[in-house]
Amino acid sequence: MAICKGIEFQLHTSRGAFSLDVKLHIPSQGITALFGHSGSGKTTLLRAIAGLEKCAGYMHFGKEIWQEQGRVFLAPEQRPIAYVFQEASLFPHLNVRENLEFGLKRTPAHKQRVDLAETITWLGLDHLLRRSPDGLSGGERQRVAIARALLSSPELLLMDEPLSALDGKARAEIFPYLERLHTELSIPVIYVTHAMEEVARLADHMVQLEAGRVVAEGAAVDLLSRLHQRPVAGEEPGAVIEARLAAHDEAHHLSELSLAAGLTLLAPKLDAEPGTLVRIRIPAREVSISLQLPEGTSILNILPARIIDFAEGDPGRVLVQLELEGGVIRLLSRISRYSWDRLGLHKGKQVQAQIKSMGLAR
């Protein structure tokens, strides 16, 4: 059963030099990433949605009024939310089971939609139930925190960088659970992060914040493949495309992916079952351009494409936006200014896009 409640708000607050000024509608389904640098106001915004922070403005959740300037302000415990904090923040005086039951016990029976036993199994917590939070690893703690949040049967799940306090191994352990939030949950999730990788893997929608203002919002796949992506420190430009894993070629250790408009890609064998929907991230530096279909090349993926836009960013380089046949899928390619001039490239030109490598985003 889907509970279709979008959240709509306009919020304003200022603290010293920082001010937050946003007006947003967040969809009633899927994972919405609030993305931005530290200090962009994304955590403040998430806390305001939870009711942990008081901002001026209004906030409506479906038909419920959570906040109305000067008249209504629901406390966090009155909002049907759950919040997963950056550090797991388990109650140290309760064991794992008691932590899990904390929110469950405070949810009226007729509103309980999440089963304790199922959640424990799903997040693999059976063997931890009697343990104290002190004795758990970082990944285990965050799993308990996620389960504890889900067990309060929220209608909106808020997550504040749930992976950022974890090491690589623990992140890899948590990721699959976050991905399965899509299929397991029918409620909207708002996910704060500063990591492009997490947006690419998890997000359906994306809101990018800078200095307390919304600078981009929309479907994550669209935004990530845009030419004029807002620069994010340490993140390479690149496109994210959705594909269905058609088959594995065991002999060559390859996977065949079918894309929209009947296109096919060959990728190094992916760790997923045939038939599953995957997200592929193709960094712009891995895509080169040639005028004719090259012969005798080692590159597996060569697709006809049309140049639809370009931008000059770094000196000596051009970032090119390509549209594949069928007009649905867009790639980004970064080539040298020299090649751009030598090949006589321009908007509307038909070319061949050569994809050197790609990686699984989801």
């Binding site: 929110g103 405070r106 002190d134």
Partner: protein, 230 residues
């Protein structure tokens, strides 16, 4: 030789009653001080801490004046039909509550402050209202502070002398507590009795403090292990 147990029991009765009252009075004060952003909080903190700095005789003197037949407190208790409190056990309890207040409020306040906002925020997002958060999260997490507060409040009340002398006097079975009894023995050159009671007090104080440090040490090292893993 006969030990006079009466002052011992009276002292234990006084200290127990005072500790219970102080937990009831001190906990809300400590909670308010730990949570409030009010500009009056420093003033209130200073008032609570006054008995640490003031000579007990000053506190006793003002309580005597306040609770005496011509003071507002005395007028009030008379109006209630309780008579005046100085030189009664009830008066001693009131005085002890004032005298030991900081020793109960401060450890509890420190423990509440050490919890930080996060566990309370987590509890709120999981549906716990203010009272629920206080009893199911704040109080259990502040347990070491409550232990310290109880031990210090009790021990400090056992050890008071100046205030007792000012407001309680020396009435056997009513206001003659241990410290006064020892003073009495010395005045009348009964050194043997004074020795017995004094040595008992030294032993008592040592055991209480040792117990406190052991218990708090266990908590601290447990939380240090916790931090280390985080």
């Amino acid at each position: 030789m006969l030990i006079d147990w009466q002052p011992v029991w009276l002292t234990l009765k006084l200290a127990t009653l005072t500790t219970v009252l102080l937990l009831l009075i001190g906990t809300p004060i400590a909670w308010w001080l730990s949570q409030t952003g009010s500009r009056f909080r420093h003033a209130i903190s200073a008032v609570v801490a006054l008995p640490i700095v003031l000579p007990p005789t000053v506190l006793g003197f003002y309580l005597l004046v306040f609770l005496g037949p011509h003071g507002p407190g005395g007028a009030f208790t008379t109006w209630l039909g309780l008579g005046t409190l100085p030189f009664t056990f009830a008066g001693l309890v009131v005085a002890s509550v004032f005298y030991s207040l900081p020793f109960v409020v401060q450890p509890i306040q420190n423990a509440f402050e050490a919890i930080g906002k996060r566990p309370l925020e987590v509890a709120a997002t999981l549906g716990a209202g203010p009272w629920d958060r206080f009893f199911s999260v704040a109080v259990p997490l502040a347990r070491p502070g409550f232990l310290s507060a109880m031990v210090l409040g009790f021990a400090h009340t056992v050890g008071e002398f100046g205030v007792v002398l000012m407001i309680g006097g020396n009435i056997p079975g009513e206001t003659k507590v241990l410290s006064v009894a020892i003073y009495d023995h010395v005045e009348t050159l009964e050194y043997a009795q004074a020795h017995i009671l004094s040595a008992g007090m030294v032993g008592f104080a040592f055991v209480v403090l040792l117990g406190l440090y052991l218990v708090n040490g266990r908590f601290t090292s447990a939380s240090a292990r916790h931090e280390g893993r985080a």
